[in-house]
């Protein structure tokens, strides 16, 4: 495996928060975004686009491009760059379009 594209600057802030990216623990500084954790994890893709299945990683890091969509703590399609890490956060890839679940909610037809 080649060297990761991104590394943290330990002199800036200590990597004090441990999160799980695709189940693997990654240490990131407090206040960092889930997208930063994804980049530090060195994972090849955090989402596959709904239309063509093309792989993507976080890009703009400021809430514009939607390329960092991930499943975070079980919630689909979250913009990882807009979510601040918390200890134990689970960040999973978003593969294709999210599912919505007919019949799963109160008020739905039986």
């Amino acid at each position: 495996m080649s060297a990761p594209l991104f590394t943290a600057r330990p002199e800036a802030r200590p990597a004090a928060v441990e999160v799980l990216v695709e189940g693997r623990p990654v240490a990131v500084p407090e206040g960092a975004s889930a997208a930063a954790a994804v980049l530090l994890a060195g994972t090849p893709a955090i989402r596959e686009t709904p239309v063509t299945g093309s792989p993507r990683l976080p890009y703009c890091m400021m809430g514009i491009c939607f390329d960092c969509l991930a499943r975070i703590d079980g919630v689909a399609n979250r913009q990882a760059c807009m979510v601040t890490v918390a200890p134990g956060m689970r960040i999973e890839p978003q593969r294709g379009a999210r599912a919505a679940r007919p019949g799963d909610r109160p008020g739905a037809a039986a």
Partner: protein
């Protein structure tokens, strides 16, 4: 000096481009004049239904026109696909108009029955479905759904791919497109028109005004009238989700890419298309969630408003000038539904040189026929 063509079409939206494409592919050299992004661009705010079942109550000619266009759509989509390589996302699996109360359901039943009576020999296949029958067609509906009307004619398509493919096919067939070409001058004589736009002059024996709301000011220069006004509609768009809707409803559809679109509003708001109003967005979202409770899980990622082009009676206007034969108008608020009719029914009429008698009910002359109110003797 002026450029000479067989036809000038004013308006580069869905209506003008469909007509221009229909003329050009029939061998008429056509110039398409597009004002630019200062125009209201109704085509870019379109919801994307190819819709039959709510059109033409009290106006059998419009019901027939809409059905004809829905019938012409598959061939148009196929042809545009072959010419441009673009998939328009056309699906015509039938559609539902969902009712959320007993009154809505009863009123809808009466509406559909009258529409069928007015269809005459054309016929109109429809069914009123109760809650369980609706749930069979559309899994995941909410308990609030009392029932729905269904017809097999309805469908949907991508309005943006339609607009893009019409432009590409028009250019591919040899048509001349002029962007940033708002009309500054127009002079008319029978079958001889001169239009100045974007610093150029164009001359042709036919001119078609398809400039949406812009037609109101343009039409009088060519011996025509187009009393159209803006009616605002708002749209909400969700994040992409896996396909859940096997068919569209009057107000909710799912695109090929997975976005759920919600469009359920009509407002008189003048020319303001830059505003979305929270109450209306809330009402639209509430009705959508009552219809499909699972929609509440999805995030809204976009919202916009756009201006429908409405005649006083809500019906399209197609007209030919008496004073200046060869000058036509085309105005409607269904640029997607009627694209098939515009490219392959209306354009051939323009190419042939005049509108046949069955188009007479669409003339703006109908607004002259206003009788004074009748006072009863008692």
């Amino acid at each position: 000096m002026s450029h000479t063509h067989d036809a000038i079409v004013v308006g580069g939206g869905l209506v003008g481009t469909a007509i221009a494409y229909g003329l050009q592919k029939r061998g008429l050299s056509t110039v398409l004049l597009d004002e630019g992004d200062v125009a209201h661009r109704a085509s870019r705010g379109n919801f994307g239904l190819v819709w039959v079942q709510s059109k033409g109550l009290g106006a059998p000619h419009y019901q027939r026109w809409t059905r004809g266009s829905a019938d012409a759509w598959p061939a148009l989509a196929r042809e545009l696909g072959e010419r441009t390589g673009l998939d328009l996302g056309l699906h015509q699996p039938g559609g539902l108009h969902v009712c959320l109360s007993g009154e809505e359901f009863e009123a809808r039943g009466a509406y559909m029955a009258r529409l069928r009576r007015e269809a005459g020999n054309l016929g109109l296949e429809y069914r009123m479905l109760d809650h369980d029958e609706t749930a069979e067609m559309l899994p995941g509906i909410g308990r609030a759904v009392v029932g729905a009307s269904w017809t097999p004619y309805d469908g949907h398509a991508s309005p943006l791919y339609l607009l893009r493919s019409l432009h590409a096919a028009f250019a591919g067939a040899g048509g001349t497109y002029r962007p940033n070409a708002g009309v500054s001058e127009g002079t008319a004589a029978p079958r001889d028109f001169r239009v100045e736009a974007g610093g150029e002059a164009h001359r042709a024996p036919r001119v078609v005004l398809a400039a949406g709301l812009g037609n109101a000011a343009l039409a009088p220069r060519f011996g025509l009238e187009a009393p159209v006004r803006p009616q605002r509609g708002q749209i909400l768009v969700t994040e992409r989700a896996r396909q859940l809707l096997p068919m569209p409803t009057t107000t909710i559809r799912q695109t090929d890419e997975g976005s759920v679109m919600i469009g359920d509003s009509k407002e008189e708001a003048g020319y303001d298309s830059a505003t979305q109003t929270p109450e209306i967005m809330r009402t639209m979202a509430r009705r959508a969630v009552l219809t499909f409770p699972w929609i509440a899980e999805l995030n809204i990622v976009r919202a916009w408003s756009a201006l429908r082009v409405m005649a006083p009676d809500g019906l399209p206007i197609y007209d030919e000038s008496d004073r200046f034969p060869g000058a036509f108008t085309a105005n409607c608020h269904s640029g997607v539904t009627l694209a098939g009719a515009h490219a392959d029914i209306f354009a051939p009429m323009v190419a042939a040189g005049g509108l046949p008698p069955e188009m007479a009910p669409f003339s703006a002359r109908r607004f002259h026929d206003v009788r004074p109110p009748v006072h009863s003797a008692a």
